[in-house]
Amino acid sequence: MADRAGDDDKTRRVVFVTVGTTSFDALVKAVDSPTVKQELFTEGYTHLLIQMGRGSYVPTKSEGGSSLAVDYFTFSSSIADHLNSASLVISHAGSGSIFETLRLGKPLIVTVNEDLMDNHQSELAEELADQKHLYCARPQTLHQTVADMDLNSLVPYSPGDATPVTKLINRFLGFPDD
């Protein structure tokens, strides 16, 4: 049994879905759909863990085995741990989730919420997708993205640097450059 559990850990490939602090039912519904679950299982993923936030759509739990194991929760203080143990992250388009995932070097599919009033969020996801740091999808095209993605073609993201800004602020105010 102990051996089996060890095997489980090795073959365990988790897809972590996160909607952030609000709700994004369209995304939860999309990942819970038979087509997306089937695609993920075909790609070799074994577990689907969904952080559903304040959403009202509740996914169906599943034990897995011959199909994808599905589990969910609303909020957690240890999102970082979930991101860390994931093999693939599917997230909303909030910049917090995007950069936290990219910093951990995890493959990421960002799903844009088209119901938001001020939908600027797609700008960042599309730009980073153009630079091949992640994949960008809509809830209704998620299954296509999962089927077509090639994780080896993703380019690792190098973190930014705030020193140029501080240099300009210092210079403006008359502080000497160090």
Partner: protein
């Protein structure tokens, strides 16, 4: 009849003089506003020697993360004391700033209350709130911001959106026009804005309230030439 006529001409003189007074005052205010707009964005010619009191407006979530990245590399001995303001509905941002300040204290041995203060402000607009109701909430936020600004009167303001920073910047601009306090306003547009400025960024850009407006994408700088491209903060 005599008295009436006399009264008439007297009020005539009064109204002419109030009229010309108004003209003079309005002209003076306009000249002052122009001065603030045109001279504000010029770098200081004198060398700064003393530390400057700094107000840091924390947005929320991603905005706060970007601001903290900036603060980590900012020379804290030059920007002191520091006043942190966050929306009353946002508990996380001040906690994160407090953590940063505590780490600094542990390193330098100074006490946090001497170098940093933390305050909350009413938010002018919540995510998803309609633009009509946000007129009233903005008004309340303005009054609260005025009270805080009278207390703080910062020399430097660092902000990066969203709406929380607009009342603060508007009052800072007013203080500059009235000669109450000359503060330098720096606005860093969020990394989430790739093609267009946010509403806050656009207001500060159009009304020239920010002395320097930084953007994190080159295509955004090309669209708004008075902005400065600084690369990614995240």
């Amino acid at each position: 009849m005599m008295e009436k006529g006399h009264g008439c001409s007297f009020s005539g003189i009064v109204s002419t003089s109030t009229f010309s007074c108004t003209i003079v005052v309005v002209t003076l205010i306009l000249v002052r506003i122009l001065y603030v707009i045109l001279w504000g964005p010029r770098p200081f010619s004198r060398r700064a020697t003393k530390p400057l009191s700094t107000l840091i407006v924390l947005g929320s979530g991603g905005h706060t993360a970007e601001m903290l990245n900036l603060l980590v590399v900012l020379q804290k001995d030059r920007f002191t004391p520091r006043f942190y303001i966050a929306a009353a509905t946002d508990n996380m941002s001040l906690q994160k700033a407090q953590l940063l300040e505590n780490n600094l204290t542990a390193k330098n041995g100074t006490r946090v209350p001497n170098t940093a203060q933390f305050m909350q402000i009413y938010r002018s607009r919540e995510v998803g709130q309609s633009y009509v109701t946000s007129i009233w909430t903005t008004l309340i936020a303005m009054i609260h911001a005025l009270w805080l600004m009278i207390k703080i009167r910062p020399q430097v303001i660092l902000c990066n959106g969203p709406g929380t920073c607009i009342p603060i910047c508007a009052i800072a601009f007013l203080f500059k026009v009235l000669g109450i306090r000359w503060s330098s306003i720096f606005y860093v547009e969020s990394i989430a804005r790739v093609r267009r400025l946010s509403l806050s960024g656009l207001l500060l850009y159009k009304f020239r309230m920010a002395d320097q407006l930084f953007v994190q994408w080159p295509q955004l700088q090309r669209k708004y030439p008075r902005a400065t491209y600084v690369g990614r903060l995240m």
